[in-house]
């Protein structure tokens, strides 16, 4: 499971108040209480059909800075994006397999606010063990896109891989296979 505290939403996000110790403790209690029991053969998994908060480009930069020491794969997705939905289970699998070795996947949904219920339903179905944020509404998407990567044209899905020092290592445009993601992650997961 991801490091709950270090991946808290940044200031201005919908859950920014959770940074207070009491709120965090209460949140953890709620999380513990909401742990879902899987089928007879399945493991106990946390309920993850919620976004960790809203994030803008600045907030994402701050969030990444707190992940130094880990390899981070940021995946931009949306529920209306069919290839995003197709590759998402592979990202869930990747985090489960390589999380203990230092990989941290972070999902960023670019869904519009009106599609948030559908996005949360998607998360509940996928049960990712990594945090997902929602791109903050408003502003010009172009500014967000350029802040993430100048070479990004805005196509989805889009992923950015950062090494343990926080340096951008690779961008992956469009849908990729599990093998592609694993190969790229393993190449810098030293």
């Amino acid at each position: 499971m991801f490091d709950q505290e270090s991946l808290e939403p940044t200031a201005g996000s919908r859950q920014s108040t959770a940074s207070r110790p009491s709120a965090l403790a209460f949140g953890l209690l709620l999380l513990a209480a909401s742990v879902a029991v899987a089928g007879p053969s399945g493991p106990r998994r946390p309920a993850t059909g919620r976004f960790a908060g809203d994030v803008d480009a600045k907030g994402l930069t701050q969030l990444l800075a707190r992940q130094r020491g880990k390899v981070v794969l940021v995946n931009f997705w949306a529920t209306w994006c069919e290839p995003c939905r197709q590759e998402y289970p592979d990202l869930v699998r990747l985090q489960r397999k390589l999380g203990t070795r230092g990989l941290q996947v972070v999902g960023i949904s670019t869904d519009f606010a009106s599609a948030l219920p559908a996005a949360e339903k998607f998360l509940a179905e996928q049960r990712p063990t990594f945090p997902n944020y929602h791109k903050k509404s408003g502003g010009d998407d172009q500014d967000f896109i350029n802040a993430i990567d100048k070479g990004w044209g805005g196509e989805l899905p889009f992923s950015v891989l950062y090494d343990r020092t926080g340096k951008k290592s690779k961008t992956l445009s469009g849908k990729h296979s599990y093998a592609d993601y694993e190969r790229e992650v393993l190449s810098i997961l030293k």
Partner: protein, 196 residues
């Protein structure tokens, strides 16, 4: 010696890998727009070079039938194409998605009242030529065959009545009045083109 050979081999392999992974970059704004010919869904030949010479501008739109972002612009594409046709500007639609066959594109165009020429782009060759990444993605070509604008239609896919940056419209107006285009490259989210 053996180490040197290994190092050289690995470096060569890495370079080949990089070359294979990289897609050809598209044209820069101001550079020549790559020439292409396709056949319209009506069976007519279409040559970008010929179309550019006979129009004040050609608006090449990479579009889709299933992409919500592209579909959000159906009415705007239809209306702009009709309005600018009267002023000598030709709009054309290209569908490069391998997942959307010609019949589907034809049906989609009929449903949304597209009167502009539409083409399938077999094996996404034209999309590759331009390095078009997603739908909708727009390229505007002038009579000299130069690329003058690349990017989005506007910044607000969700609410046409609240558009604050009508970038394609601005670019066309500037072109038609002989001005330089203030914002010649723009970006927006879109659905990646489903390549072969």
């Amino acid at each position: 010696m053996w180490m040197n050979w290994m190092r050289a081999t690995l470096m060569t392999a890495a370079l080949i890998g990089l070359a294979t992974a990289a897609r050809a970059a598209g044209p820069d704004v101001g550079a020549a727009a790559p020439a292409f010919t396709l056949t319209t869904l009506d069976g007519q030949p279409f040559s970008l070079s010929d179309a550019a010479k006979s129009h004040k501008a050609v608006v090449v739109m990479f579009i889709a039938t299933k992409c919500p972002y592209s579909n959000a612009y159906n009415d705007r594409m239809r209306d702009m194409a009709a309005a600018y046709e009267k002023r000598g500007v030709l709009f054309v639609g290209i569908n490069s998605n391998k997942t959307e066959p010609a019949d589907e594109v034809r049906e989609h165009a009929k449903k949304h009242g597209f009167a502009f020429p539409l083409m399938k782009d077999p094996e996404n060759k034209v999309a590759d030529l331009y390095d078009a990444r997603h739908t909708p993605e727009i390229y505007v070509v002038d009579p000299a065959g130069k690329l003058r604008y690349h990017g989005r239609i506007d910044e607000n896919y969700e609410e046409p009545s609240k558009v604050s940056s009508p970038d394609l419209k601005n670019a066309l107006e500037e072109m038609l009045t002989g001005k330089s285009i203030a914002k010649a490259e723009t970006k927006a989210f879109g659905c990646s083109i489903k390549r072969v």
